[in-house]
Amino acid sequence: MKSVSLGEFEELVLLIVAAQHDQSYGVSILEGLEEQLERKVSISAVHVALKRMDEKGFVKSRFGGITKDRGGRRKKFYVITALGKSMLDQQYALRTRIYQQIPKISFT
């Protein structure tokens, strides 16, 4: 059985996929990430993350229609699955839980 862990970069990609709901594909994810992170991201890293999460079942994909753009190549759209969503929820809950344990003092 494949491990169901979620890497940090994968988590970011998954968040973007969830946020762009049904309209996310490689380049749109790349742009979303670059916009949010304010740094350059490599398209290959995005592809690797997407394929891994596809294998783990966090996302599923479908081909779009043929257009004149992209040299006639179809886009592949990704949507988050229920498993993916619950994974994000778990991560969110975990972070919030730990975050709330931080004592309310000022840090220097």
Partner: protein, 878 residues
């Protein structure tokens, strides 16, 4: 311009990427490219390539499973398997192919080792390309001022040329001289030996050449007079494990003369045109005879020099005429000229005479390289012939493979890889043979050649390339033939004769036979020439002659007559004579004036030979006119000269009688010519008998020639040694036999003959192997036919004729081709001898007959077997 991604990157992506991901990845990459295109197309394209490389990631690479292989190894494994099975199922043919090719490659490698060794001479000198040497020509008056032929130069020359060049030519950086070897008697404690191979050398020896000095200071070892640098070998002989530095050796150069050892150098490497065993400082020589260092006519030095950086040898060469004129223009009777020769040419390319050490023969290297190529060609031809004639066996296989969809390229690849595999087996065999036979090569060549010389990194890739090339060379044509089979014809079953390649096969067999016969003729010529040299009448009797060398010992020279008489008392001694040199040794030349037929004094430079009054009778040299030196004429030591016929001819006397009584002047002597001897070969038979003058010179004697009875030679020698010990206690008894030392001049020729015959033998053997395979196959194809013929009453002889006739025809065609070829080549080789055997038709008949016998024997092996076989066995199975 439309954004377009770089082709190579896209192709690379398509090659490695999983097909189900390809469209998405390509699309995304192109979209990114399009976005970046607006800012900078160049950068976008670069980034595209970079991103493709980033995608070369396990996640996207095609899985390595059967259908999706990047390299289709299953097919190749199958090819390999089929090749393997095929090699082992036809053991005889595979054996013939592999041994033939293997032996051929081994010969090539061995010859390559030899050639490489010959080319390595002197390469160990770091400054090799900057070192030149001076060659000198001593010319007669007539030739003076005219251009000198390259062969007229000699390496041996005078002393002052080096310093004069340094002074006159700004391009010359430094010069180095050494003398010819001197004989010195060395004594250290109880050890006493005659050293024959020490030279006097200038002090910068270790600056110019790359010999390693094991002990001593390279800058100062040869500065002082009476200092010596010994090679390890000589140092070990006297001092064993002691430290030689500072030791004092007694030497026979005058009263109480000693040499101090100031250095020990490594032995001069074997691949070196120098051959000395020790260096004595030049200042020692200068102390004896300082005057000769200014004499341009005194010949005893080899001069080497280096040029400054950026200097050009051609610019120095242009100044030679002026230089020669300046120093020797005032010579009245003779002329002088110099030329330069790069030291890298000294071993193989020099045509100059009087070399300081052995020289190689470029011609022999060419001959052996051609033989190596011939052997390999013969082996490849075996391969081609056997494979093409047996192509029928593979016809069905080719048909099936084509029917199930094999392309031509794939089939071609299959057969070529099979042949290359065979060639690999052959290479392994070849390497084994090289390791086994390299000691024999050492014996044959007399050179320290080891297979370890092959252990260099370049060897293996080139060997690998060689194997593949040989595989393609030998397998290319058979593979094409096989691939061209048409499946429909082959599989119908009616396909019998291949037809293809029969003419080619015949041509190749003729070629093989021609080479074999030519090599056989070559061997015969080489051997009859060597035989001829041995049996040639030299003009003197060299049998049972013991030579004793006393190295110009003054004490021996003083009492020479009494020593001769004491030795002559021995019952087994016929006669004894003394001389400066014996036949086969080096002899100097001297400017000589003799009265010509018209009464004028004429000057030439004949060789001079210093002898005593018994020499001519002792050597049984015949007189053509006049008399020999004699005790009855006491003036013979100072006023008489004897010449040989060739000298008489040079001075214009066709009848030697006419020369008797003519006046002469030579080396401070003058008087009359008293006799002319018949020509005798005082040098090797490579050279014609050159003009010679014989002088009687009691104080120039170095060697005794003692003619002894042929029975019980060892006892005579030991008696002589005892007598010698009483007469000359301070000198070791150094003896040799004249016939042996004279024959040593032909050592290089003998070696050449042996090497030549060995490799020719191998070539012929391989050719026979191929012939054997070919007849074995054709005979096996015709077993049924032979069976039927026998049943119908054919005799054994008619069947053998039937099977052999075709080959015999080819053989005679080959004979016709090889005769002119070998005649031409061998006459070229024989040109190196002044006395040579004629290449007559009987040589061709004999070698042709031998080759025919060998071929017939090879063929009949198989045809007789077929002819004697019981027809029942071949016919019952149908």
């Amino acid at each position: 311009m439309k954004p377009n991604p770089p082709k190579y990157a896209l192709n690379f992506l398509r090659w490695f990427c999983r097909e189900d991901y390809l469209e998405e990845l390509e699309g995304d990459l192109i979209e990114v490219l399009e976005m970046q295109w607006e800012t900078s197309p160049k950068k976008a394209r670069r980034n595209f390539g970079f991103q493709v490389i980033r995608h070369f990631h396990p996640e996207f690479i095609k899985p390595i499973t059967a259908e999706n292989k990047l390299i289709n190894s299953a097919m190749y494994l199958n090819h390999f398997k089929i090749a393997w099975r095929h090699i082992f199922s036809k053991k005889l043919y595979s054996f013939i192919n592999i041994t033939g090719l293997g032996v051929g490659m081994a010969c090539c490698l061995l010859i390559l080792l030899y050639v490489k060794y010959e080319l390595s001479y002197d390469q160990y000198h770091e400054d090799l390309d900057k070192i030149y040497r001076v060659t000198h020509a001593y010319k007669s008056l007539e030739e003076k001022g005219k251009p000198t032929a390259p062969e007229a130069f000699q390496v041996w020359g005078c002393a002052p040329v080096g310093p004069a060049m340094l002074k006159d030519f700004p391009e010359v950086k430094s010069f180095f001289r050494f003398t010819s070897p001197n004989n010195m008697l060395f004594e250290y404690e109880d050890k006493r030996f005659q050293e024959d191979n020490l030279v006097f050398a200038d002090s910068n020896a270790f600056e110019m050449f790359s010999w390693k000095l094991l002990a001593g200071n390279p800058e100062t070892v040869l500065d002082e007079p009476n200092t010596v640098v010994l090679t390890e070998k000589i140092a070990h002989k006297y001092f064993g494990s002691e430290d030689p530095i500072g030791k004092v050796i007694k030497v026979d150069l005058g009263e109480d003369a000693v040499f101090k050892v100031t250095g020990v150098m490594e032995n001069v490497p074997a691949n070196s045109h120098f051959a000395f065993e020790g260096l004595v400082s030049m200042s020692t020589f200068r102390r004896f005879r300082s005057e000769i260092f200014d004499w341009w006519g005194y010949v005893d030095f080899y001069t080497y020099f280096t040029l400054n950086e950026n200097a050009n040898i051609a610019s120095v060469e242009n100044k030679i005429p002026e230089f020669v004129e300046k120093y020797t223009g005032n010579w009245e009777n003779s002329g002088y000229d110099i030329a330069f020769e790069p030291m890298s040419d000294a071993y193989l390319h020099s045509v100059a005479g009087r070399q300081p050490g052995e020289t190689g023969s470029l011609q022999n290297l060419y001959i052996f390289s051609s033989i190596a190529i011939f052997i390999l060609l013969i082996a490849c031809i075996n391969f081609i012939n056997l494979s093409t004639s047996r192509s029928l066996e593979r016809a069905k296989e080719v048909g099936i493979r084509k029917v199930v969809g094999a392309h031509r390229q794939i089939l071609m690849g299959q057969f070529l890889s099979e042949f290359i595999l065979l060639s690999f087996f052959a290479a392994v065999l070849a390497l084994l043979l090289v390791v086994l036979f390299s000691p024999i090569l050492q014996d044959l060549t007399g050179k320290p050649i080891s297979y370890q010389n092959l252990l260099e990194w370049e060897t293996f890739p080139s060997l690998f390339a060689g194997v593949v090339i040989i595989g393609i060379l030998a397998g290319g044509y058979p593979a094409i033939l096989l691939v061209n089979f048409q499946p429909a014809k082959v599989l119908k079953g009616a396909f019998k004769s291949t037809g293809g390649g029969v003419a080619l096969r015949k041509g190749l067999v003729i070629f093989q036979f021609s080479l074999s016969i030519a090599l056989m003729v070559g061997t015969a010529v080489v051997f009859s020439q060597l035989q001829y040299l041995r049996n040639h009448d030299l003009g003197f009797d060299q049998e049972q002659m013991v030579i004793v060398d006393f190295g110009w010992d003054g004490k021996v020279q003083e009492q020479i007559e009494s020593i001769k008489n004491t030795i002559l008392d021995h019952p087994n001694v016929f006669s004894i004579a003394a001389s400066r040199a014996v036949p086969g040794n080096f002899l100097p030349n001297a400017g000589t004036n003799i009265e010509g037929p018209d009464g004028e004094m004429v000057s030439f430079g004949p060789t001079i030979y210093e002898i005593d009054q018994d020499f001519i009778s002792n050597y049984k040299i015949e007189m053509a006119a006049g008399r020999a030196f004699s005790r009855d004429f006491p003036n013979d030591t100072s006023q008489s000269l004897i010449l040989n016929e060739s000298a008489a001819k040079m001075w214009g006397y066709n009848n030697p009688e006419d020369m008797i009584g003519k006046r002469f002047e030579q080396w401070g002597k003058s008087g009359i010519v008293i006799g002319v001897v018949k020509n005798f070969n005082y040098q090797s038979l490579h050279k014609k008998v050159e003009p010679l003058s014989l002088r009687y010179e009691p104080y120039s004697m170095r060697k005794f020639s003692i003619r002894i009875k042929s029975d019980n030679i060892p006892a005579t020698i030991s008696d002589l040694e005892k007598t010698w010990g009483e007469l000359v206690p301070h000198r070791p008894f150094l003896y040799s036999f004249l016939d042996e030392t004279f024959d040593k001049q032909y050592k290089a020729d003998m070696r050449f003959g042996q090497l030549f015959s060995v490799f020719s033998g191998i070539a012929i053997l391989i050719a026979c192997l191929g012939l054997f395979g070919l007849t074995a196959y054709t005979t096996s194809q015709r077993t049924k036919e032979i069976g039927v013929r026998k049943v119908l009453g054919a005799s054994v002889s008619s069947i053998v004729t039937l099977l052999s006739a075709g080959f015999i025809k080819l053989f005679f065609v080959a004979l016709l081709i090889s005769i002119p070829l070998s005649w031409y080549v061998m006459n070229r080789w024989l040109e190196g001898f002044a006395y040579r055997v004629g290449v007559g038709y009987e040589l061709f008949i004999i070698s042709g007959a031998i080759a025919l016998l060998i071929a017939l024997f090879t063929i009949s092996w198989q045809s007789l077997k077929a002819a004697f076989a019981n027809p029942v066995n071949s016919l019952r199975s149908e």
